[in-house]
Amino acid sequence: MAQRRKLEIFGETLPAMPLAAFFLVAFVAPFILLLVISLYQSAEFRGVGLHQYVKFVTDGFSIGVLWDTLFLGFCVTAVCLLLAYPLGLVYIAGGPRLRAFILFLIMLPLLTSAVVRTFAWLVILGREGIINSAMLALGLWGQPARLLYTWGGLVVALAQIQLPLMALPVINSLLKVDRSLVDAAEGLGASSWRRFRTVILPLTLPGAVAGSLLVFAASTTAFITQTLVGGGRIVLMPLNIYQQAVGVQDWPFAAALSIVFTVCIVAINWFVNAFAQARMRGVNA
């Protein structure tokens, strides 16, 4: 009996084996290698210890960069959430044609590479770009404003680029909301804001959390967009790691930075997930 059960489990997990093997080779092995490299004391791969991690903690610059990067992820996620819900509500309210059109608009950015989308933002935000030219022509601004290479510009550009990652799960969970619950709330006299806050938002939490985790991870690690729109003025973790690895050729420190960065993002993901699960259990109870 037990033998048979073992076989069954084996049979069920068998189809996942190729993926697991791929994951092992393409992710776990390099990660272990990274971990090993990060334990070398010097850039010349001499001595073993936690020197690189001590360097990270005691060097105020790198911690500041890490904090900036996580804060960037938070800002972009917040902007995406604020944009995705109204978009999703319009989608839900619309007929099949409007829905198809909105879906097409959401998918459109995914059909071009991140590099192309980023270059579009360079054209929009530049000193002689679309926004500045329009504002100058309308006489609203006396001189071109600096939009490119600024924090605000970077958040807006990243939010647009990552929006599909938020909009799709949010729309998906909005579609699953039982219409009669919203109608019931309306019948009982709940205002539209209250209906959103107490019915729609809790029920679509899984979609919002999934979208947030995707957007957070994607925007904190978006090397190309961060580098092109942020320029050399805004230093974030991906650029910092790249510079340490390639420019300075200090692979152990770059590896340590990568490990710390990965652990931070995984920890945040885990924490948000745990929080959301607890909340959802509360909703279902």
Partner: protein, 347 residues
């Protein structure tokens, strides 16, 4: 079509193997050569690629990368390097030789080497210098009634927000910093005055570009009006109709010697040597020297013409009028400098 399971498996295995082993499936008749992003890349694709194909019947795959990226990528895959021929300025060349990733140049088999002056041959037998780049001031002539004359112009208050710079990962940024340090009382190894000066330059800095090529392109986008840059980058933009011009600072420009080198364990073998022959040859150097590329030739049969005559009548005069830096003195310090520059030069 019916296909037995075994045949399908075999086909699948074969296609997996060919995808996983690009080295084996790659056509033998090609060379992978690096260029620098910007005018170098355009010039090499337009001139060297066709000339090499004509001479050998083989193709070149060009990959634009900064020199430090090239060293890093070769070091990461020594046994199976991603390039056959690399392009290095003086600093990265020192690193690459130290890291033992380069092959010496088979001088006895080379015809073109005889046309390269001894001063540009490598003392330890690596491949010779193929071109010299000149660093000076790039500016937008529409925004400057009087052209700038020295590095000090970058610091002038009227240039607030209009200055572009690039970091010390490039030869350009490093050469600029070393020159500024020396002009302000520092030395090849003491960059303290230059780092201090960067702090006072920050209010004027409108953009920090990732590479010299990207820095030049900022003129095109109208992001900046003055910067330090290479003559050939700027001249190419000027001939494309961008409002940009170049002057050598009154204290002298900086000349950077660039060489193409053979990578150890490269797969192209003799073709890589043939590629170097092509780059050094009179015909190719002549075409690279012509507008719009204006790359300074090191082949002594090729005279300066056109825009290059604005800087000098020939290579000897160019070097006499400008400055060379002794990269052996400070190349080992660059890692620390790059880190410090990134930390200090930001808003």
């Amino acid at each position: 079509m019916q296909m037995s399971r075994r045949a399908a498996l075999r086909l699948g295995a074969a296609s997996l193997a060919s995808a996983g082993l690009p080295g084996i499936s790659r056509a033998a008749e090609s060379v992978v050569a690096t260029t620098y992003p910007g005018s170098f890349d355009e010039a090499f694709k337009a001139v060297v690629g066709p000339a090499f194909t004509k001479a050998t019947g083989a193709n070149v795959n060009f990959t634009p990368l900064l020199a430090i990226d090239q060293v890093a990528k070769i070091q990461a895959a020594r046994a199976n390097p991603p390039f056959d021929v690399v392009l290095f300025d003086e600093g990265p060349l020192i690193n690459a030789i130290k890291a033992d990733v380069l092959e010496k140049f088979p001088a006895s088999a080379s015809k073109a080497l005889a046309d390269i002056p001894d001063a540009f041959k490598h003392p330890d037998g690596y491949a010779p210098v193929i071109t010299c780049q000149v660093i000076g001031i790039a500016f937008n002539p529409k925004k400057f009634k009087v052209p700038p004359t020295s590095w000090d112009d970058l610091w002038k208050p009227e240039n607030k927000g209009r200055v572009g710079i690039t970091g010390m990962a490039s030869s350009l940024g490093t050469a600029f910093m070393v020159d500024v340090a020396k002009l302000k009382g520092g030395s090849d190894t003491d960059l303290e005055p230059a780092f201090k000066a960067m702090q006072t330059l920050l209010p004027n800095v409108g953009a920090i570009a990732q590479s010299p090529g990207a820095l030049a392109a900022l003129f095109q986008q109208g992001e900046i009006d003055i910067a330090f840059n290479y003559f050939n980058n700027i001249e190419l933009l000027r001939t494309k109709g961008v409002d940009v011009d170049f002057v050598v600072p009154s204290t002298g420009g900086i000349v950077v010697r660039t060489s193409a080198q053979l990578v150890k364990n490269a797969q192209a073998g003799k073709l890589a040597t043939a590629y170097l022959e092509t780059v050094m040859s009179e015909g190719v150097q002549k075409d690279l020297e012509a507008a719009p590329w204006v790359m300074m030739p090191t082949n002594k049969r090729v005279p300066f013409t056109g825009a290059n005559l604005k800087l000098a009548n020939g290579l000897d005069e160019l070097i006499a009028r400008n400055k060379l830096l002794d990269w052996t003195k400070f190349q080992h310090l660059r890692g620390d400098w790059i880190t410090r520059f990134t930390k200090e030069v930001k808003i």
